[in-house]
Symmetry: C2
Subunit: 152 residues, 2 copies
Amino acid sequence: MSGLSQTLTRAEQRCQQQGGRMTTQRKQVLALLLSQAGPQSAYQLLAQFKHQYQANAQPPTIYRALDFLVQQGLAHRLSSTNQYLACGHITCQHDHQGTLFLLCDTCGGVQETPLLKGAVSQLQQQLGREGFQVQHEPLLEIHGRCASCAVA
Amino acid sequence: MSGLSQTLTRAEQRCQQQGGRMTTQRKQVLALLLSQAGPQSAYQLLAQFKHQYQANAQPPTIYRALDFLVQQGLAHRLSSTNQYLACGHITCQHDHQGTLFLLCDTCGGVQETPLLKGAVSQLQQQLGREGFQVQHEPLLEIHGRCASCAVA
DNA sequence: TTTGAAATGTTATAACATAACAATTTCATG
DNA sequence: CATGAAATTGTTATGTTATAACATTTCAAA
Ligand SMILES: [Zn+2]
Ligand SMILES: [Zn+2]
Ligand SMILES: [Zn+2]
Ligand SMILES: [Zn+2]
């Protein structure tokens, strides 16, 4: 568990490697994502951004920053809930071949885990069977109930 | 490949078995879904519905019908594209344990296939490891390029 | 220091979805 | 058949998510 500033530094390094420019604004949005436990909507982020950084900010400001962060692999978009979160693997190697998001419908939390090799190869088998070519790492979202919520 | 009316009849049977009421309106929306090759947005469906069935229909009409059809397992919602399509397995047994949607980013088409046992069990392993309990069949959406588009 | 690409600011609007309440239909029961 | 509760549909309004379009500023390379 690295601290926030360490993570931001690491994120900046990743951007440089990938030819992305980590501006102040983008870093602020990433910091907002990192400072929250769970995933957030773009408009929730906008509200926080206005409160903490720039009172007159507009939606495009947030959406542009999020698009950039997603492109750089520093954040993810959850399409099943229209939410965004910081990648849970900014400070580790993150060289997996797909990501599995476990979305708890009870508490709203998300667990991000790399897709295990076995699952990847099974899915690849299915894709090959259909002649389907994947361009980006698949992001799979599964809804259910997390371990904490299952206890209660 | 069953005909449209056969499929609608089968859908009606499924509703009865499951305690759902297949009304005229709902059948009309399902017919629209079935008459199209690819997935469609709710507002595209609304436009067609207005044109073919009821000129003054409003969004809730379509969304309610879609909600019903999805509940009954006769249609699916693609959360990554905000689109809807008829289930490709209305006339077959459809007792699979999950569905994989292959979304072609080039032509916009979708291939719906049951998740193979191997993939299901690999995913279950990962879920178990996290103590995560799934409530409904997972619907997985993977983007890429379909076989037809790969040729061109 | 020019200069052009990238980023940001700003206004407006498009696209997706649901809340709330009224009216109607359905259907089991008396 | 009468009738009332539940489900469906009609209708208006609004909430939520996302982007188009164009002006302005920033920034790094030539
Ligand atoms: Zn990640
Ligand atoms: Zn939970
Ligand atoms: Zn299906
Ligand atoms: Zn295609």
